[in-house]
């Protein structure tokens, strides 16, 4: 067991967790931030993507202890003053989600893409999202949503 101190969605948190606790488990089980989803056990699906110190990360690939002291943003932290982020708005407007399970990871990953590439092409969007699996949408409206968000961010 060890003490994990993080700033999560702008709030300082400190919790005891066993050393093998994954960041994804820490967020879901210790902080009850269940918006971060677990869709696989091989770090392939991307449903658990969060931002650690501003960069997207599959939270099942890091131990909570590895990121001790970091700033973490989860899907729950993307709104500001109750207003959805332009990426969230774009997903809603363009039907970029159906069952919603992959959505948190997909949105967090897409937000990071636009941080790094303000006007990505279709191909660049599809390449970037290669680590996020969606079984519902066929990706077309996700790509459209990312392009739409790029005009708003």
């Amino acid at each position: 067991m060890g003490k994990i101190s993080l700033e999560v969605n702008g709030r300082k948190v400190e919790k005891e967790a066993s050393d093998n606790t994954l960041l994804s488990t820490f967020l879901r089980e210790h902080l009850q931030l269940t918006g971060t989803h677990i869709g696989c056990d091989t770090s392939q699906c991307g449903a658990c993507v969060v931002h650690v110190d501003g960069n997207s990360l599959k939270s099942c690939t890091a131990l909570a202890a590895d990121v001790n002291g970091s700033k973490v943003t989860t899907i729950e932290g993307l709104e500001t003053n109750g207003k959805m982020h332009p990426m969230q708005e774009a997903f809603k407007k363009l039907h970029g989600l159906q069952c919603g399970f992959c959505t948190p990871g997909m949105v967090m990953s897409a937000v990071d893409l636009l941080q790094k590439n303000k006007k990505p092409s279709d191909t660049e969007i599809r390449d970037w999202l290669e680590g996020n699996i969606c079984r519902c949408t066929g990706y077309q409206n996700i790509v459209a949503a990312v392009k739409e968000a790029a005009t708003k961010m």
């Binding site: 269940t34 729950e76 969230q88 997903f91 407007k93 159906q98 069952c99 279709d122 409206n141 790509v143």
Partner: protein, 792 residues
């Protein structure tokens, strides 16, 4: 008030999903809950010689360990096949017992033998490692084609044969083939797929000792059906003491229709230990134990005249059921397959014969399309081959055999009420620039690439399954749907639907329908589903039935509300009920300026006498309150149809297939929300293209799943697809008041033959099995080079 039906209304459910507030089963934690881990067979076929839990029981944090013995002692029933199928010789199908925990024999890798329940997940995992099972490993049967010749895996089931079913007339087909100028034949494999909803299965079971009630939160597409099966066949608890809740469910695609072992075991065990139990599948467990889809081996023949008229069709199929027959396991390769196997064509004589076999693999059941993708793949691959062999353009050959009039009495079972297949074909050709293909082929050739074009025309039977239709086929269960429309006194509306949304957008599209019917703003309408305590009964979501069956139940319940509203208005305004009209949320007495809003009428129904004009009670014969129910049983299936066209470019140096263009032109009848329908088409296409180019579930000869993770099973990614070009034609269904047909499965049905026809066209007619991986295609390219060299 503008009509909402037909509008791109943004989804009411999205905000919670987009802000991390969705509530999926794995997000639920109950006070004092325990954690379950299932001990599963590592062997595909074995008998259990000894099972020792002594060491495991001593492991830290263990609350209980239960095995097949306890579940048998408590007379908890097993998993069942929902549909009875009779063989051609009249005998009943043969189904083995499928206990929730295996006691004597295991029949596939992942078959559970015990459950370990502990205070924490880590402790449950550790204790599960200490359960000792002594297996006698037996030779596994894994091949679909050879299962009949393998050892009988279930006692009393010869040749591993569940049934040998026939639909159609062999004699008539023989006569048709005797008259044929040419017979086109094909051998195809419809590859096994794993549905892979992104949310792994999970359940949380709770027991309330005071009310003696079990509550099961589970990842289900049909909570009422689950409760019925668990109660009537599983003997878990009587229905009034069993509540099943399917909260937000992260995709299903058929894989969450079934009641699973874990649902029954956790519910039963929660009562036994008098504590809540949580179980969440790891993805590797999902791969092993979720139902799989497809897995057919087919030989089919088409008898044709030299000018391309179809005369007869034969379909001999072996369908793999896996280890056990589950809920839709037996109906998928029969009534969902056979009747659709003649496709959109007038073929005077046809039969489909299906031998359903057991193997030591995961159970095979309904996966998006269920039977209709297999049927469409068979006929459309065959028709494409016929066009090559007859030298007739693939679109002309199809048009030549389309029905000339509707209703279209299809060869085997269905009477298709409406459609216009020629219009669909013409529009698809235009959208795909079919004419320009030869020029594009030449351009590809100039770059050293091979280009191919493939076409599919399909129809499907949706709105599963009208009682009248299925009972006439000899199936026991008709599938209607229910709706309850409840007004609050102050005018908002709650609609309970027995249908279930796990991505399909019910909260929005069903509210659009109710808003139009009732003239109530959409924001004042809540769609509620997924909880057996909140509605009487429902059949759930599968077979593109939500709108065509569940949606109509809502319409009918709303119409009853309006009828009552007219009577109440007449009483309130001292008019004849026949003189009251309803429009845009207002009851108007004709030829007068007297009217009541539906909100005023709702208030009066609950609180008669509160307002001045309502001094008298409700009309004679009417009780207070404003709530109506409909149980809607459609008169027939609905029949979406369309034509899809794909173009691929192959690099002969690598065998890589690039899907260059995909055009879908579908007729779904009336469309409630075009945005939602587009999403359904895109998703179906991705799964269908996935089957054609990427996905394959493979077992080795010992029954080990070789594709048991996302590292081995190719899930389609964003960079695997071009932008789909989709469009519609529209003929309304005549069998329901909305004129809707269903759209959820079309893409998964039409895409595999469309893409494969394009690949095979590019390869000069050489057969390649699905998925058309680079390796297979590269080999085919080498053969092509050799045969071209010989010809030169």
């Amino acid at each position: 008030m503008a009509s909402l039906v037909g509008s791109r209304v943004e989804r009411k459910e999205d905000k919670r999903f987009l802000t991390g507030k969705g509530r999926y089963t794995a997000d639920i934690n109950l006070a004092n809950q325990t954690y379950a881990i299932f001990v599963r067979s590592p062997h595909a076929r074995a008998s259990i010689k000894k099972l020792n839990i002594d060491k495991a029981l001593k492991s830290s944090g263990v609350v209980s360990i239960l095995t097949g013995k306890e579940i048998a002692d408590d007379k908890i029933g097993g998993l069942i096949a929902g549909w009875a199928i009779r063989s051609e010789d009249g005998t009943e199908m043969k189904c083995p017992g499928n206990p929730p925990l295996a006691k004597d024999n295991v029949n596939f890798v992942g078959d559970p033998v015990a459950v370990v329940i502990a205070e924490s997940l880590a402790e449950a995992k550790e204790a599960a490692e200490k359960v000792e099972v002594d297996y006698k490993v037996l030779k596994a049967v894994t091949s679909t084609a050879d299962a009949i010749n393998g050892d009988a895996i279930h006692e009393g089931i010869d040749k591993n044969l569940c049934f040998d079913w026939l639909l159609g007339d062999r004699q008539k087909v023989k006569e048709a083939f005797d008259k044929a100028d040419k017979v086109i034949s094909i051998d195809i494999i419809n590859n096994r797929l794993i549905p892979n909803a992104m949310e792994p299965r999970a359940c949380v079971a709770d027991y309330n000792a005071a009310s003696e009630e079990i509550t099961l939160y589970t990842t289900s597409q049909n909570p009422h059906l689950s409760r019925l099966i668990m109660s009537a066949f599983g003997n878990v608890a009587p229905e009034h003491k069993l509540r099943v809740v399917a909260p937000d469910v992260g995709g299903g695609f058929g894989s969450k229709i079934n009641v699973y072992n874990e649902d029954i075991v956790c519910s039963w065990a929660a009562k036994k230990i008098n504590r809540a139990i949580k179980w969440v599948a790891e993805r590797s467990e999902s791969f092993l134990t979720d139902i799989h889809g497809r897995d057919h081996v087919t030989h089919a023949e088409l008898a044709v005249t030299k000018d391309g008229k179809f005369l007869g069709f034969k379909n001999e199929t072996i369908a793999n059921l896996g280890a056990y027959a589950r809920v839709f396991g037996t109906v998928t390769p029969t009534y969902l397959f056979g009747p659709c196997a003649t496709g959109v064509y007038e073929i005077p004589a046809a039969y489909t014969n299906v031998k359903a076999v057991y193997t030591n693999t995961a159970p095979v059941d309904a996966y998006r399309g269920a039977g209709r993708p297999e049927a469409t793949y068979t006929i459309e691959r065959l028709v494409e081959k016929a066009s090559m062999e007859l030298g007739i353009d693939k679109t002309e050959l199809r048009i030549k055999n389309f029905p000339t009039a509707f209703p279209f009495k299809q060869t085997l079972v269905h009477t298709v009420d409406s459609g216009d297949y020629v219009a669909g074909m013409e529009k698809a050709k235009q959208m795909a620039d079919y004419k320009g293909f030869e020029a594009r082929r030449k351009e590809s050739e100039a770059k050293g690439k091979l280009r191919g074009i493939g076409v599919t025309s399909y129809f499907e039977a949706c709105g599963i399954a009208p009682s009248a239709a299925v009972m006439s086929l000899g199936c026991g269960v008709g599938l209607w749907e229910s709706a309850e429309v409840r007004f609050n006194p102050t005018g908002q509306v709650t609609v309970y639907t027995g249908s279930h949304s796990h991505g399909q957008s019910h909260q929005t599209t069903f509210a659009q329908i109710a808003a139009d019917e009732l003239g109530v703003p959409i924001e004042n309408i809540d769609i509620v589903h997924g909880d057996t305590d909140k509605g009487t009964f429902g059949m759930g979501t599968y077979g593109s039935r939500s709108l065509a069956v569940g949606g109509i139940a809502i319409v009918n319940a709303c119409k009853k509300i309006v009828e009552k509203g007219k009577r109440v208005t007449a009483k309130m305004l001292e008019a004849n009920p026949e003189d009251v009209e309803f429009k845009d949320g207002e009851f108007i007495v004709s030829k007068s300026n007297k009217k009541k809003t539906i909100g005023e009428v709702a208030f009066a129904c609950y609180l008669p006498g509160v307002r001045d004009e309502m001094k008298s009670p409700l009309p004679e014969g009417d009780e207070p309150g404003l709530k109506e129910t409909s149980f809607y049983d459609p008169s027939n299936f609905s029949f979406p149809a369309g034509t899809h066209i794909a173009e691929v470019e192959i690099d002969p140096e690598t065998g890589h297939v690039k899907l260059e263009k995909y055009t879908a032109c579908d007729d779904f009848g009336r469309i409630i929300n075009p945005m939602v329908v587009e999403g359904q088409v895109h998703g179906g296409l991705a799964q269908g293209i996935g089957q054609a180019l990427y996905e394959n579930a493979e077992y080795d000869e010992t029954g080990q799943l070789m594709t048991g993770s996302y590292m081995d099973y190719t899930m389609p990614r964003a960079d695997n697809f071009p932008e789909f070009n989709i469009g519609y034609t529209c003929t309304h269904a005549t069998t329901n008041p909305l004129g809707v047909k269903g759209c959820g499965e079309a893409g998964a049905i039409a895409a595999p033959p469309t893409v494969m026809n394009a690949v095979i066209d590019a390869l000069g007619g050489q057969e390649v099995t699905m998925p058309a991986t680079a390796e297979k295609v590269w080999k085919a390219c080498k053969n092509l080079k050799k045969s071209n060299a010989k010809a030169a």
